[in-house]
Every structure is written in C-alpha cells, then in structure tokens.
C-alpha cells in the first residue's frame, strides 16, 4: 500500500510504500486516551507479473473504539459491526446509512464506507473493485482519515504518528537513479534521507482514476521517516 501524508499548509506531501508478506497486520492508528485503534491486514496480487515485484494492498481493516465498546471489521467482501455485544452485518452491494448513538456509518454501494465515531474521528474506507476475471489483481481497500483533530497528542501508528504534523526540510533537487525523477535530501526526525519527487493517487473523488498528489517519496518502507521501522508496527490480530 502507498501512504500519503498531505501537508496543505506547506502545499506539499510525503509518501512511502509499505510492502510485506501478504497476511501481515499493521497498526495504523493507536490512541490510548481515546481508546481508538485501527489495524489493517495486507493482501497481495493474485499472481505476480513476471519480472515485477509483489505489490501489496490493504484487504481488511479492524477499527476499535474501546470507550464505546465498538468493533468494526471491514473487508472487501463485507462489513461487520459489533457494539456492546450486538452484531450487524452489512454488504458493499447496497447503499446503507446507520446512525447510532456513538457511531454513524454510511455505505455507498460498491464504493465507500464512511465511519464517524462520536466526538472523535471520521474515517473513509474506499473499496477498489477489480474485475473478477482479472488475472493479476483483486479487490482491495483504501483508508482515509477525514478528521483527526480530536485525537490525543499520544496518537501513534503508521498513520497516527503524523496526525499532529511533522517537521522536515528538503534540499535542492539533483538527478536520481530513475532518469524520469529527481532526488533531494530530506532532513527529518534527525535523519538525512534521499527522497524522490513523485506522485501518488488520492481516490476520494474519482475512485477509478484517482487524483495525482505530488509528494516526496521516502524509500525502504518509510525508513527514517517513521518512528522505528515498519516491522515495529506489525500486530498479531485485527483487534
């Protein structure tokens, strides 16, 4: 999956990829004071195109709000919700709106799920539907944080650590390994990294083609930008 950290006040963005063995579960958000945890499990392509490397995507997300006793499991097939022992099952194939005491859900058929946790956060999960007979690819999910301002200062995780900004500086551009792109030095979190100017796609408006977001790409699974390394964020279960 590709991660994008947009910083509109700087009119810039950071991006990195995390690739690991399909089936691995990563922690994206952990905020002990609010009791919110978001984990995601990655999946691979059906088949690797010869000569290409394996790409991974998120196939399942687990969202927990301990304070309200809410657990949400979102996969490419279904959406399972449990709140204080009550269970409900939603499908991606119908539009559905659920307004609860502590959580609102809105499913847009075959497209997206918006999750609003009362007095805290709002997430958007996008379903990327792939033609079933596609020989290489399969359905996958995207996860977008729409509102994060009520998270505590302790919030962490692969995405959560950036919710309160990040300090960085970028030097002059210079030719990189890839003749089509330019590199620069980035100074961030006490590290000096070689980063590459590129772009990633934001699929919120156009789920099919996305919108290009220019960004500084941090190589090696975000090493140097992330606190620790990406494997530090591996967890044993979705919840």
């Amino acid at each position: 999956p590709h991660f994008i950290i947009e910083l509109p006040d700087q009119n810039d963005a950071l991006c990195f990829n995390i690739d690991h063995k399909p089936g691995t579960i990563f922690n994206l958000v952990r905020d002990p004071p609010t009791g919110i945890v978001v984990n995601g499990q990655i999946i691979g392509d059906k088949k690797i195109i010869p000569g290409n490397k394996m790409h991974t995507y998120f196939g399942r997300f687990g969202i927990v709000n301990e304070k309200f006793g809410i657990r949400l499991m979102v996969s490419t097939k279904e959406i399972l919700v449990s709140e204080r022992g009550k269970h409900a099952n939603f499908s991606w194939t119908n539009n559905k709106t659920l307004e609860g005491l502590n959580m609102d859900l809105q499913v847009i058929k075959d497209r997206s799920l918006t999750v609003t946790l009362r007095n805290s956060v709002k997430f958007l999960i996008i379903l990327h539907k792939i033609w079933k007979m596609h020989p290489y690819h399969q359905d996958y999910l995207g996860f977008y944080t729409l509102d994060s301002h009520l998270f505590s200062s302790n919030v962490h995780g692969l995405l959560g650590q950036f919710y309160h900004g990040v300090n960085f500086e970028v030097s002059d551009l210079f030719p990189g390994k890839d003749p089509d792109k330019q590199d620069a030095n980035m100074f961030v979190k006490g590290n000096k990294l070689t980063v590459t100017r590129g772009w990633k796609r934001d699929f919120r408006q156009d789920v099919k083609n996305g919108e290009k977001v220019p960004c500084w790409f941090i190589h090696n699974n975000g090493t140097g930008l992330l606190d620790g390394v990406h494997t530090d964020y591996i967890v044993s279960g979705l919840f």
Partner: protein
C-alpha cells in the same frame, strides 16, 4: 534538426489490442554544441487518432501537457498574450496524416526527451486494418526502433508490412513474427544501415510504415470481448452473398471541374462502370446549372448498357455553374420513382463534386434539409469531394445525415484510383438494416447499434458498458436483411480467460476496451452533432466534451496545453488542437501560439515547522498504487 543536435534514440512503440492502437513515440536528443539551440520535434500521426499525452523532459525536469476544454484553453491563452501571433501545434499533412510539431531551446550539452502518445480505433477497409506510422527522423539515429505488437484474441489471418522508405536493403531488417493470436513487428536499423551510402550522412529512413492485417471473423454473432466491465462487439461476416443495388452517380460538370478533375472523373467512372455487378441497376446524372441524365430511368448493368454508359461518360464536359441541390434531388427522384418490387432494396447515390453551389439553391442548410427530406431514410448518400477548396463540411454533413460517408479525392495522379478505391468499399453490400441487440439489462451506454448497410470488407463495431462489473456473460442478438430473407443470430457473449490467451501481457488487462468505448462514443457524438436539433446539439456536445476530458483525448472539443521552458524566468505555453475538416482545408500558414505561464521553480527549500493552521485540512491516507 541541426547538425549539432544529435538524435540519440527514437522509439515508436505501438500496441494494438482488439483493433485499438496505442502508440508512444519517444525521441531523445542531445545538444552537442557549445551554445543553446532550438530542437524541433515533429511527428506524423493518423488523422483518425486522438493525441492523449505529450511531455518534454529537459535534464530531469518534465513538462507535461494538459487536456482542457477548448474554449477554456483559448481564454487562458488569449488573456496571456496581449499581442502577436499564436501557434497551432497540429497541422494537416498529406491525405491521412496530421503533423504535431513543437520546438524547444536547449542549453549546451543538454538532453531533451519528447514523448507523444496517441490512440485510435483501426477501421477495417477492403478486408484489412492498417497501422500507419510516419517515420521521418531527418538524420541518422543511434538507437532507432519501431516495435509493433498486435493482440487479437480471435486469431490473426495475415500481417503485411511495407513502407514508402523500405528499400531492398532495409526490407530484410523488418522482423515479423506472427503466431495464432499475436503479431510482433520489429524494425531497428543500425547507423550504417540507415545511411544512403557508406560515406553519406543522409538517412534512408524517411517515409511511412504501413502494417496491414486482418483477423478471423466468426460468421454468426461476431466477436465479443469483455474486459473490466466494458465490452466490444465486432461484426464482419464476409461469407455472405452480395446484394444487388441501385446506384446513381451524380456528376458535377461545372466549370471548375474543367481539366484534370474532369479527366480523372471520366477515367474513374469508366473503371467503376466495368465493375458493376450484373444484377445492379444504375443511372448517370450530370449537373451544372442544368441537369442531364444518361437515361431518365435506371438501367440494369448488362454488358450492353455498360458499354453505352461508357460512351456517354466520354462526352461529359465541364461548363457553367454548380447546382448541387437540383442534381441530388433529381437522383433521389429517379431512385424513388423506380423503386418497386422488380428493383433491389438497396439504393445509393454517389455524388462527385468539387465545388460550392453557385446556382439554384445556394443556402447550404437549405440544401441539406431538402436532400434529407427527399431521401427520408430510404437510400444512402456518399459524397466525394475534389480539390482543397471543396466545401467538405457540406458534403460530410450531407453524407452523415443520409447514412453514408464523405471522402476527399486528392487531385493527384492517382485520383482515378482513389475514386475507384472508394467505390470498391461500397460496391458490395452484404446486409441491410443490421441491428445488434443485447436483450435484458446487462449492458448500458451503448454506441450506435443499428446500421443501415454492411459492406463486404468493412466491420461493424459496437461497444458498451456492463451494468455490473461482475457480469461476464450476456445475451446477444444480431438481425439483418440479407439477399434472401431476414436472418437472426442469437448467442451468449462470454468473457474469455484472457490470461490464458495472452499470458503475462499486462497491457491487455488494462483499460483499453474502456478507452475504445470512449473513443467510439466521442466519434459518434461528434458525428451526431451534425444531424441533430440545436437543443440536442448542446447536450451531445456536452457529453462528448465530458468524455474527451475524462479520457484525456484531444478531440475537436478540447485542446492540449503544452508547457515548455522558454527563458530563465518564463515558460511558454502552446496549444495543440485536433483539426476539424474545415481546418484541414486551410493550407495557409498556421498561426503561432504563445502563452506565458509563471515559472515552476525547481530546487526550492521546504521547511515545515509546528502544527498546521486550523483553516487548512490535512489528509493522511493509505491506498493502492
């Protein structure tokens, strides 16, 4: 373009899947001089193609193009240029090509890479599809490559390669590999092989490369391909008996036809008359400001009648003014009067003219209205326009309004051959009133699915979207009137396991059928604008524009804004348009466009401190590539 510009590589990469061709032309050049120089990038592309992308890369910095609504691009462009001329980057080139050209100033010892991408749906004519690649590097190229890959799931019948520059020395260098469903053409002459002689610096590689091929055509419902929620249906049964037809040739003999045009018309008619099928009925109508016909009624194409008609053709001389309206109405009347059980069902008019009406009804919209009302869907009108000053848009509209098509006939030595070639395309009708139906609700957003006639060697193409991405089968029904009775074919379209047909060809599983659908839909919407009411025209234009922008096609409704570096402080913006037929007529020197945009500074220093301001919303997200 200059001796101290070294063209390091030129690569033409063309991928064709199911007749939809995607071509990328990449040229890399180095300025070896010690001073800045202008480097020119000029390529020819088929006029039926839509440009989809263009970029210039100079020393790692890439300038990309952007497709915008034409008027919006024009306004941006005009507001920035207070005076001076502006430049169209695309101009007509020859009969079938357009030239895209741009130049950029390159610093000493600097490299530049130009990349142009265009797409087109290849049309089947006289039993084959043709890929046409303009190849004019103007100088020897270190790494020169043309790579064409064709993927046709129904099987390739044949592939022929030839080129205007393919001499006996170059011919063995064209490598062609054809397997059941794939063809690969590769041409990569070395520097020495490109030279006209061992000590020369001139290149042999200068001209057009043509690749003609055909596929196997199923004789029942045709060939249907389904990928990623879109489908395309090809229908081209060649194995059917020919239908007889009534054809009236309406021949302009006005003064402006005098000389070569009249001579070529007579020559072509002599050949065409010889090739009439004996079951056909035909008539000859000549017009200037008066109308004369060989006979006032249709004649069967017996050898005796054909001989007599040829004698008449020899007597046609140019004179006087042009009354297209009266000439056409006379022909319609002739065909309508004769229509009875003893005559064939299919009737067509072939209009040969060079000129704008100068006598009788001269109001073009009135002529169109009169002809359309008279024909009233009962026959097809084909128009052949002579000369660069022909009012081609009138002929184009007349043809489109009446189920036919228009073609230019270029006034060159082979004009008679052009006329004959056109006639051959429409000489052999096999089916009438062809309908491609998809019962049920599986498909939507269909392109045109009813066709008045189907000619041998051509192909009917219908594309559409599936209601559900998961749909991999749907009902198909084809009905038409053949020589005997009406026939109906029914069948089920089934998505193929493409990976087993074309293993490891990622391109195949992309969006090419969707783009084919968009291309065809745009083309048909643009044609529809010619014949619909003013209210519908607005809606049709909006749909075509929306699709053009969505799929990044440079069509007559959009412009591609090309930014290129110009000076230290300013970049220059140019505009590439799709030529309309009216613009193709204009052979005068094109305008030169220049629009100045603020520079994009590379190498800025970014410093980010503290929290984001409250009024700005950050995004943190994770998604697939």
């Amino acid at each position: 373009s200059l001796s101290q510009i070294e063209v390091q590589s030129m690569r033409v990469d063309c991928k064709v899947a199911s007749r939809f061709a995607h071509t990328v032309m990449t040229t890399k050049a180095l300025n070896t001089a010690n001073a800045s120089q202008e480097v020119f990038f000029e390529v020819d592309l088929p006029k039926t193609a839509f440009i989809t992308n263009f970029s210039i890369e100079i020393e790692g910095r890439i300038y990309v193009s952007e497709v915008k609504e034409k008027e919006q691009a024009r306004q941006q462009y005009e507001s920035a240029v207070s005076s001076g001329l502006t430049a169209g980057l695309v101009k007509a080139s020859g009969r079938n090509m357009e030239t895209f050209s741009v130049s950029v100033n390159i610093a000493p010892q600097s490299r530049v890479t130009f990349t142009l991408t265009y797409e087109e749906l290849l049309q089947r004519r006289l039993g084959s599809y043709e890929i046409m690649i303009g190849v004019r590097p103007k100088q020897l190229v270190q790494n020169f490559e043309i790579v064409v890959d064709i993927y046709e799931p129904n099987g390739i019948a044949f592939v022929d390669v030839n080129g205007t520059f393919i001499t006996n020395e170059l011919l063995p260098l064209v490598k062609k590999t054809v397997t059941d469903k794939k063809a690969h053409v590769y041409f990569s002459p070395t520097l020495d092989q490109q030279k006209t002689c061992s000590d020369c610096e001139e290149t042999l590689v200068d001209g057009d490369l043509f690749i003609r091929y055909d596929v196997n055509h199923p004789q029942d419902i045709g060939e249907i391909q389904i990928i990623n929620g879109y489908f395309v249906h090809f229908f081209a049964p060649d194995d059917l008996p020919q239908m007889p037809k009534n054809v009236v040739f309406v021949i302009d003999r006005s003064g402006s036809m005098e000389g070569e045009k009249m001579k070529q018309t007579r020559e072509a008619l002599m050949t065409i008359l010889s090739e009439l099928h004996e079951d056909d009925y035909f008539g000859l109508v000549t017009f200037d400001d008066t109308i004369e016909s060989w006979r006032p009624f249709l004649s069967k194409a017996t050898p005796e009648n054909v001989t007599e008609a040829k004698e008449f053709v020899k007597t046609i001389e140019a004179r006087h003014m042009t009354d297209i309206n009266k000439g056409l109405l006379f022909a319609v009347d002739m065909l309508t009067t004769e229509k009875s059980h003893s005559f064939p069902d299919m009737s067509m008019i072939i209009l040969l003219t060079d000129g704008r009406p100068s006598s009788g009804q001269r109001d073009l919209s009135k002529i169109q209205e009169n002809v359309q009302n008279a024909i009233n869907g009962s026959m097809s009108l084909f128009c052949l326009g002579f000369g660069y000053d022909v009012d081609y848009s009138l002929l184009d509209t007349l043809a489109k309004q009446n189920d036919g098509l228009a073609r230019r006939v270029y006034e060159a030595s082979d004009a008679a051959l052009q006329l004959q070639g056109f006639y051959d395309e429409v000489a052999t009708p096999l089916l009438l009133e062809v309908n491609l139906n998809y019962p049920g609700n599986a498909v939507t957003d269909l392109t045109q699915s009813h066709f008045r006639q189907f000619f041998k060697g051509s192909e009917i193409v219908v594309a559409g979207r599936l209601q559900e991405l998961e749909t991999n089968t749907f009902q198909t029904e084809v009905s038409a009137n053949g020589l005997g009775d009406q026939f109906v074919f029914e069948g089920v379209a089934i998505a193929e396991e493409w990976d087993s047909v074309f293993p490891d060809q990622e391109y195949i599983f992309g969006d090419f059928i969707e783009r084919l659908w968009a291309y065809l839909t745009i083309q048909q919407l643009l044609d529809k604008r010619e014949k619909c009411s003013p209210e519908d025209k607005e809606n049709t234009t909006a749909q075509a524009l929306d699709l053009s922008l969505r799929y990044n096609f440079v069509t007559p409704l959009t412009s591609m804004v090309v930014t290129k570096p110009e000076t230290e402080d300013e970049d220059e913006t140019l505009i590439a348009d799709k030529l309309t037929e009216d613009q193709r007529e204009d052979t005068t020197e094109p305008d030169l466009s220049a629009l100045y945009a603020p520079p994009q500074k590379a190498g800025s220093v970014y410093q980010v401190q503290g929290l984001k301001p409250q009024n700005l919303i950050s995004s943190y997200f994770v998604d697939g590539d």
